[in-house]
């Protein structure tokens, strides 16, 4: 239920999520749960990164907690977080009126577009590590970027057919915007209907920001992180190597069971280890390029293996 913030009715953080979930569910999206391996963005979840590959149409939506160790601020910065929440919508292919549908989703979360200034500003997205890029916009609402809208063109270095529309809402930013609060930690997460007691974002998440920032910047063991990265990488590469002879596997079942997804999880683990090392200041600029190339080899390798598997088993994995 909406509550009154700054003299206006506004959605709580969790109601914002409900509204977006219902809105997109009503438009045919499968609601998926957040992916349970560390990712830096909703795009990196296999529900986006792998589902956009191949010919099978998909409509899917999910909230995705996104970890960015270097953005941690020990809970002291009102606008920056170690972990923020994206709401990710994938429309493959996008409907012709996708922009209007997006505007309707803003109306659904209580934004009267006649009383706000909305601009579609060019913002092309790319994730070089994933060989992925697209063109699109950042949606600016009263000077604040609230959504990234991307027409995916390539993923894993492969052209997409059909093209996909990706809509990524920054939930904390939108909640701040709706509730008119200057600090993320003051966002009202929920209100008890019987007592009126408010629970804030800070109450739910501040300790996590404090501790995970400390872990990323001060505690994480650099030599262990390198060991993790190397170990995950070696295992991922071994799987990718075996994936090369996937077509030689005897039965359909064996082909379906080849763990491309396992390789992807290992690649994501590498990516997160890299981000932690980066936050620890353990990666010199010279090394950075090299390590990113290593991770790119894993992620793009997985995408190619996935595409190959889809061809072998007739795109039954969905």
């Amino acid at each position: 239920m909406p509550f009154v913030a700054n003299g206006k009715e506004a959605l709580t953080f969790q109601e914002l999520l409900f509204r977006l979930q219902s809105f997109w569910a009503e438009r045919g999206c499968v609601l998926q749960q957040p992916y349970d391996v560390e990712v830096g963005a909703g795009t990196m979840s296999p529900d986006t990164f792998l589902r956009v590959l191949g010919p099978k149409p998909v409509r899917i939506a999910y909230a995705q907690p996104s970890r960015r160790p270097a953005d941690g601020r020990y809970g002291e910065n009102p606008n920056r977080l170690y972990k923020h929440t994206q709401f990710q919508v994938i429309l493959k292919p996008p409907p012709a009126d996708v922009q209007e549908v997006y505007l309707d989703s803003l109306r659904a979360i209580g934004i009267d577009l006649k009383k706000h200034d909305l601009k579609f500003e060019e913002d092309n997205w790319e994730w070089p590590v994933g060989g992925a890029w697209g063109v699109g916009w950042q949606m600016m609402l009263d000077g604040q970027e609230i959504t990234q809208f991307t027409y995916f063109q390539q993923c894993g270095g492969m052209d997409l057919e059909p093209m996909c529309g990706e809509i990524t809402y920054g939930l904390e930013r939108i909640a701040q915007f709706l509730q008119g609060v200057d600090s993320i930690y003051d966002i009202v997460w929920a209100v008890e209907p019987d007592t009126g007691k408010k629970t804030t974002y800070g109450e739910i998440r501040l300790y996590e920001e404090e501790q995970l920032s400390a872990f990323s910047f001060d505690y994480a063991d650099v030599s262990k992180l390198w060991e993790h990265l190397n170990a995950y990488e070696a295992e991922c590469l071994a799987l990718l190597d075996r994936a090369k002879s996937m077509d030689k596997l005897e039965t359909e079942k064996d082909k379906r069971r080849f763990p491309v997804l396992g390789a992807y999880e290992l690649a994501l683990k590498c990516s997160h280890a890299f981000n932690l090392l980066d936050a620890r200041g353990a990666i010199s600029v010279t090394e950075r390029v090299g390590v990113m190339a290593r991770i790119r080899a894993l992620v793009v390798g997985v995408a190619k293996a996935y595409a190959q598997q889809q061809e072998l088993v007739g795109a039954t994995v969905s």
Binding site: K114, D117, D142, Q153, M163
Partner: protein, 695 residues
């Protein structure tokens, strides 16, 4: 005579691409109609664009191409008839002309007798031609970045095409592109008008119909409205002015269909942050215009250009929203600023070891070491040549110049590199000379840009750029054709501009030598610099190409000197005597070149000269040469050139009375030697044989 309207409706096109796309579509439509003979005498074309549309209106379009009469030439009569009977060749030609063989005529021309035919081609209707040809023109528009969206990727375009309008007066022209067929309905403002369609009855009503739907289609009108509104809204603050920013006006013009300017404010306390930081946040990150007071100091206000005209309540919501965003950004900037002060620049030098300048060239720490050496050498050279430099301050500046790359503020606002370093240097109590040199180190970024304000800043900028150029050339990463990924041409142009405008007493060969590790690299860099001097003299200063060639032939190592010589040649080239001497010098050069090709020897043996005319030329030119050389050393170039022009009668006399290529070998060599000598003596300011003389 009809009007033709074409509009293509798109999902929001990037602001930076709209102006050129509008111009290109206009040209393509107009050229197409012209090419197809569909334009009346005195036809005119206007164009429109918003983020969601590109449109062209042509008035004076013919509804029908005029009929054309074409004379076809067929096979020769010899081939066309055998024994009086038409051959297959004749039949084929008749078929092509669409008549029977008996209707063919005979044409006689220089080559003989041929079959001919007169063919009338009926003009096609404008509608048919446009429907057939326009799609190719749309598809041909250049986009810096495009996308596919339809299954099977039949076309790539900047953004998905949503609708098209194509009207010849009231009639729809069924142009098809990207799965869309043109009609007579367009769309208005996304929010103020909503998603309903608007019918355009005929082209002349286009602008007014859109205006009713909250769209100002004419870019110039929109730009003007924004400027006027910026003025109007700023006037609500006593004594305030908005900071002129043409580029930003252009951007917001192309981001809006119905622009509306609002004034916002921020807390005074943020004005303690440097203006550069505040303006960068407002301009580059928020597309706000900065406001200044009567004394040009930044005021605690900003102007935002909306794409909507809100009611009073909306206005308040939008204003507070924008103010909140800006406050958060300023807070970030302030946080970074304060955080950065905990580690002074001098303590950051070591951490530059972790910042790569370029893979093979190592870190910025290594670069700073090299730049310091180059800068010190340049300072010594300048000092020796009566240009005082604070060498200690320059060395200090070179040491910390790049340390701001490790600061949080520069990581957040990369466009402020250098500037932040300068501001921090000042805030941390370093000398003003050091602060200014660091602040200005990236100047000039372009040929229109100012050069560093101090001699220390100039030398730091030159040393930094010379090191980059020398390093990249050493790796074989020279610019090729239009490819210059490291901006080396811009860097070298900057060096030339600084030398020229600050009249610095250092030579390009010295700069190239100091910046390069090996002599071979230095030689390549020198050649590269020479090209840049040519560019500077021709394209930046506007000297005539032959003057530039003449001046460069006499060397371009000393840039301010090359500029002075180019100016002097430009000043005197109009005089008749000078033109005559130039022509004579060219003749001498040609004679010498031909003689050299034949293996002729040239020797300075004046005793062998026999004719009075040639002995006079030898004596007079010898006497004059010493005088001209004195003038040249004093840099009195105009006087030097005028003196050379006084040779004219002797030169004319020589060519009139003397045959250079005399049959006798020794005399020939002596004459060639004389010409050689004259050319050498008088080509040190400029090589006149390069000057183009209009006869």
């Amino acid at each position: 005579m009809a009007d033709f309207l074409f509009e293509i409706g798109l999902e929001e096109v990037p602001a930076r691409m709209i102006a050129s796309a509008e111009a290109e579509l206009t040209k393509r439509v107009n050229d197409l109609l012209g090419r197809e003979r569909l334009l009346e005498e005195g036809s005119s074309v206007t164009s429109y664009s918003t983020p969601r549309r590109l449109a062209v209106v042509v008035s004076g379009v013919l509804r029908q191409q005029p009929d054309a009469v074409e004379e076809l030439l067929g096979p020769s009569l010899k081939v066309a008839f055998k024994d009086g009977q038409p051959t297959a060749a004749a039949e084929a030609f008749a078929k092509k002309a669409g008549v029977s063989v008996t209707d063919l005529s005979t044409v006689t021309n220089a080559k003989g007798e041929y079959l001919g035919a007169t063919v009338k081609r009926a003009g096609k209707s404008a509608s048919d031609v446009i429907a057939a040809e326009l799609p190719k023109e749309i598809a041909g528009i250049y986009w810096a970045k495009n996308m596919f969206w339809r299954a099977g990727k039949p076309e790539r375009f900047v953004r998905p095409v949503k609708w098209m309008v194509a009207l010849l007066d009231e009639a729809v022209v069924p142009v098809e592109f990207a799965g869309v067929t043109a009609g007579n309905t367009t769309r208005g403002h996304r929010i103020l008008h909503g998603s309903g369609t608007i019918t355009i009855a005929k082209p002349v009503e286009y602008v007014a119909a859109l205006e009713k739907a909250f769209v100002i289609a004419d870019v110039a009108v929109r730009r003007q409205k924004i400027r006027k509104d910026l003025d109007k809204v700023t006037r609500t603050v006593a004594g305030a002015r908005w900071r002129e920013d043409e580029e930003l006006v252009e951007t917001v013009t192309h981001l809006t269909e119905w622009p509306y300017v609002i004034l916002g404010g921020f807390e005074q306390e943020y004005l303690e942050l440097p203006e550069e930081v505040l303006v960068t946040v407002m301009r580059d990150h928020q597309k706000y215009f900065a406001v200044e007071d009567a004394g040009h100091k930044l005021a605690a206000h900003f102007l935002a250009v909306l794409n909507i005209e809100p009611d009073a309540e909306g206005l308040e919501i939008i204003r507070t929203g924008n103010e909140r965003v800006l406050r958060a950004r300023f807070n970030d900037a302030r946080f970074f600023w304060e955080f950065d002060q905990k580690t002074p620049l001098v303590d950051r030098v070591e951490s530059l070891k972790n910042v790569t300048f370029q893979k093979e060239l190592g870190s910025y720490f290594a670069k700073a070491e090299r730049v310091r050496k180059v800068a010190s050498s340049l300072a010594r050279l300048s000092d020796e040549r009566k240009t005082a430099v604070d060498a200690a301050a320059l060395e200090e500046a070179a040491t910390i110049a790049k340390t701001d790359l490790t600061s949080e503020l520069v990581k957040e606002f990369t466009e402020l590199q250098g500037i932040v370093g300068g501001l921090y240097a000042r805030a941390q109590g370093l000398s003003e000379t050091v602060a200014l040199a660091v602040y200005d180190q990236y100047l000039p970024a372009s040929m229109e840009d100012a050069i560093p304000r101090t001699v220390e800043g100039l030398l730091l900028s030159i040393a930094d750029k010379a090191d980059t150029i020398g390093g990249m050339f050493g790796l074989g990463l020279e610019p090729t054709g239009s490819k210059d990924p490291f901006g080396l041409r811009r860097a070298a142009n900057g060096i030339v501009k600084m030398l020229a405008e600050a009249k610095l007493p250092v030579l390009l060969s010295e700069i190239a030598g100091l910046g390069s590790e090996h002599a071979a690299t230095a030689t390549k860099v020198e050649g590269f610099f020479a090209e840049r001097v040519e560019f500077y003299l021709k394209d930046v200063k506007g000297y005539a190409y032959d003057v530039v060639k003449a001046v460069l032939a006499a060397g371009a190592d000393d840039v301010p000197d090359a500029v002075a010589r180019a100016q002097a040649v430009t000043d005197v080239r109009g005089s008749e005597d000078f033109a005559a001497v130039s022509a004579a010098f060219k003749r001498m050069r040609n004679i010498l070149t031909q003689a050299r090709e034949k293996g002729e020897a040239a020797a300075w043996t004046p005793d062998f000269l026999v004719e009075p005319a040639e002995r006079t030329l030898a004596e007079e030119s010898g006497r004059l040469a010493a005088w001209v050389e004195g003038q040249r050393r004093e840099k009195h170039y105009v006087e030097a050139l005028q003196s050379i022009a006084t040779l004219r009668p002797h030169v004319d006399d020589f060519f009139e009375k003397v045959m250079v290529m005399a049959p006798e070998e020794k005399l020939r060599a002596a004459r060639l030697g004389l010409l050689n000598r004259v050319l050498q003596d008088f080509s040190r300011v400029a090589d006149f044989s390069e000057i183009v003389v209009s006869s």
